[in-house]
C-alpha cells in the first residue's frame, strides 16, 4: 500500500519525468534517439506518402514525438500545448478540410513530378550538409535546470510578455474573421 501511494505521488508530479531523464546519461540518450528517430521517420512519411489522410496521420505521430522531446527537455507546458494545439486542433482542422474537399483519385495521382522530386531532395541534402557542420559547433555550458512548468511560464507570460500576449488575441481574432469571411458561401452569387 505504501509503495502504491508513493508511486502515485511520483507519477502525479513532474518529478516522475525528471527522475527518468536525470537517472543517467544513457537513459536520456536512449530516449532522445528513440524519439528523434520516430520524429524523423514519421515526418518523412508525412512528406512522401501519397494519400493526404496518411500523411496527416504520419504527421500526428511526428508531433507526438516532438512533444516527447519537449518533455525530455523539461518543457512541460510547451509539451502539453504541442499535444493540445497541434494534435488536438490544427491536425483535426486539416482532417476536416481534407474530408470536406473529398479529392478524387485522379487529382491525387498528379501530385508528384519526377524532376521536381530529384531537384527538391538534392536541394534538401545541400541545405542539410551546410546546416549540420555549423550546428555541430555549438557547445553550450551546462545550465541550471529551469523546468518550464505552467507556474514559471505563466509568471513570465503575464509580467514581462503581457503586451505580446494581449496582441496575440488580436491576431487570433483577425484569423477567425478572415477564415470565416473567406470560407463562407456567398449568398448572392
Amino acid at each position: 500500500m505504501w509503495t502504491i501511494n508513493k508511486m502515485f505521488s511520483i507519477i502525479g508530479s513532474h518529478n516522475f519525468v525528471i527522475f527518468f531523464t536525470t537517472s543517467g546519461p544513457h537513459v536520456e540518450a536512449c530516449f532522445f534517439y528513440l524519439f528523434t528517430t520516430v520524429m524523423l521517420v514519421a515526418a518523412i512519411g508525412a512528406v512522401a506518402l501519397r494519400s493526404p489522410i496518411y500523411s496527416l496521420l504520419s504527421l500526428l505521430v511526428s508531433m507526438f514525438a516532438v512533444a516527447a522531446l519537449f518533455v525530455l527537455l523539461h518543457a512541460f507546458f510547451v509539451a502539453a500545448l504541442q499535444v493540445l494545439l497541434y494534435a488536438g486542433a490544427i491536425l483535426v482542422l486539416f482532417l476536416f478540410v481534407i474530408m470536406l474537399l473529398n479529392l478524387n483519385q485522379q487529382e491525387l495521382s498528379r501530385t508528384r513530378q519526377h524532376t521536381l522530386l530529384v531537384l527538391g531532395v538534392g536541394a534538401g541534402l545541400v541545405l542539410l550538409s551546410v546546416l549540420v557542420p555549423i550546428l555541430r559547433l555549438t557547445a553550450a555550458a551546462p545550465a541550471p535546470d529551469t523546468p518550464g512548468t505552467i507556474t514559471a511560464i505563466g509568471r513570465l507570460l503575464f509580467t514581462q510578455y503581457l503586451l505580446p500576449f494581449e496582441v496575440t488575441s488580436l491576431l487570433l481574432l483577425a484569423a477567425i474573421v478572415g477564415a470565416v469571411v473567406l470560407a463562407k458561401r456567398r449568398i448572392d452569387t
Binding site: P25, E28, A29, T36, M39, L40, A43, I44, A46, V47, P52, S62, V66, L69, F70, L73, H74, A75, F77, L81, L85, Y86, A89, I90, L93, F94, V97, I98, L101, E107, L108, R110, T111, R112, L116, L119, G120, A123, L125, L127, V132, L135, R136, L137, T138, A139, A140, A143, T146, G148, L156, Y161, T168, L171, L172, A175, I176, G178, A179, A183
Partner: protein, 100 residues
Amino acid sequence: MINLHHYLVASAALFVIGFVGMVTRRNAILLLLSIEILFNAANLALVAASRYLGNLNGQILVFFSMTVAAAEVSVGLAIAILLVRHLKTLNADEVRLLKW
C-alpha cells in the same frame, strides 16, 4: 551525453524534411502541412536552446509561434477551400491568377 547540438541537428533534419516537402509536393494542403513541419523544427530548436541556456524566454517564443501557426493554418485552409470552389483544383501549379 546529449548536448545542445544533438537537438539542433535533429531540428535541422526535421527542417530539411519539411523543406523538401515544400519543394516537391504540389498539393496546397500538403504545402500547409510541410509548413507545420518547418514550425515544429523551429520550435524544437527554440526549446532546446531554452533548456541549455537556462532561461525560459525560448519557451515563451514557442508559445507565440504556435499561436501564429494556428492563425496561419486556419486562413490557409480557408484559401484551400476557396481554391477548390472557384478553380476546381488544389494543384499549386495550376493556380496562376497572380502570374501577370
